[in-house]
Symmetry: C2
Subunit: 307 residues, 2 copies
Amino acid sequence: MDCNKKIQIIDVGPRDGFQNVKSFIDTPTKLAIIDGLYQSGIRVIEVTSFVSPKAIPQMVDAADVAKAVIARYVDLRPIALVPNLRGAENAFESGIREVVCVISASEAHNSANVNRTIDESLASLNTIIKALPTMQVRLDVATAFGCPFSGKVPEENVLHLVEAATKLGVQGITLCDTIGVANPAQVRSLLAAMQREFPATSLALHFHNTRGMGLANICVAAEMGVRDFETSAGGLGGCPFAPGSEGNTATEDTVHMLHEMGYETGIDLDKLLGTVQCIADHVDAPLTGKMLGVHKSTCSNISGNAN
Amino acid sequence: MDCNKKIQIIDVGPRDGFQNVKSFIDTPTKLAIIDGLYQSGIRVIEVTSFVSPKAIPQMVDAADVAKAVIARYVDLRPIALVPNLRGAENAFESGIREVVCVISASEAHNSANVNRTIDESLASLNTIIKALPTMQVRLDVATAFGCPFSGKVPEENVLHLVEAATKLGVQGITLCDTIGVANPAQVRSLLAAMQREFPATSLALHFHNTRGMGLANICVAAEMGVRDFETSAGGLGGCPFAPGSEGNTATEDTVHMLHEMGYETGIDLDKLLGTVQCIADHVDAPLTGKMLGVHKSTCSNISGNAN
């Protein structure tokens, strides 16, 4: 394997995708989908979220999911999202050793999302890192490319937040395009700044496909050397408050493009599409990935001046 | 205006889009949609196709559409597709002075599409060029990136076809990804070969978004200097024999991305989205562009650990 061409996919569907599904997905179904992702070759999965079941009832079985996954797979990195120390402690008790915390690069969005200032969120992050020294803690920088309230987010805001979090000791950063506004030129610019300022930081990217630019952004980021991308099988998830728009960039579309471009993900696309079909069959949410439709049909009968 | 950043959009919806719509779109509706595209700032439009009405009943009013468009706009380049000399002559009689002919880079697809060998198609192209010396003739190279029958299409096949057509005197080439399989690495490779072999050729690209890579391909091609892209308002058109898959890359999504990246198209996106809404209201076909949905909704109320 050409290491320079190796890309790691982090599937966030069981967390970011499921949390947006209104009707409860029972625990065995969640575990079956996670198993499908694993069997297709995905080795890093956001498996659940240790949040208040009042806020997100879908995640009431977080501990059960986490324990089952940890017991079952020895070579899987299961990640859980935690909103605060209590969530991180619950995750730790369930055996989770890698969590992700979310802070927005935009004050307006951080306030709307978690009702805290960015400084308050950083203080909470610090509490988690100090209280659980053996826990790997990643930071998701939400609205890193744009905010639904304040528009374009200056690069300095992102860099300041990353610097502050890095000083606290986070072990990885994910820049998230929460509302799907990032464009390839902007991605290139912010990545250049990140690589200049934080060359040693483990960096992942998380794009939404709301405006159709998900794969374009992944393409330019991969060419700039980023090797970790968060995507969601089926494109599940995203912004529940933007009807008609898409959510996460689909894992299967990303894997297909990367393979075609000569990158290696270790993922079996056919097996993955089987799992996406399983999601389509058992999860009450529209899927937005394109490869499942292509997989099911054959464009074998074109006529009439097709071009 | 920075000429280096100026990109020309050729909207092919009234031809490539409409020809795939089963129920007849009446002539005034067709003209209203073309007018909407013009009013939004688009100055090159494939307005119709001079084909046998038996083969494509939707195009029975080709002469009426062409004449009306030519009478109405002085600064629009109306292009018509023609399958043969008879079509080209009919187009010429209607006042059309720029036509596009289609030849596939794959023998198998050319045979399925027009029941001719590539050499026979080139001979037909030659007849048109010789018979109508004042007509501008472009060539659409279909299946330039892949064929539904024979898979990957070697670059040499594309280059040979372009060379033969250029010798006959075509005034422009469009490389068409008929079935939406092109990936950014492949686009870059074929473009490099085209720019090396045919540096003086007027080159346009036509991508389908079947596998979600339409904007990624346009992004890398724009960065390599291509300045002409064929797209379709609403994403109308594409492959009618691939249910669940998308067709043409949507003009509105392309314009949005290019503007965000700093390119200039001369197109007013809000006006264009008004026309896409008009298409949604009056044309019985699913639209696949994303910007109309984003335009209608506002992602202004995110909560629950959105990232």
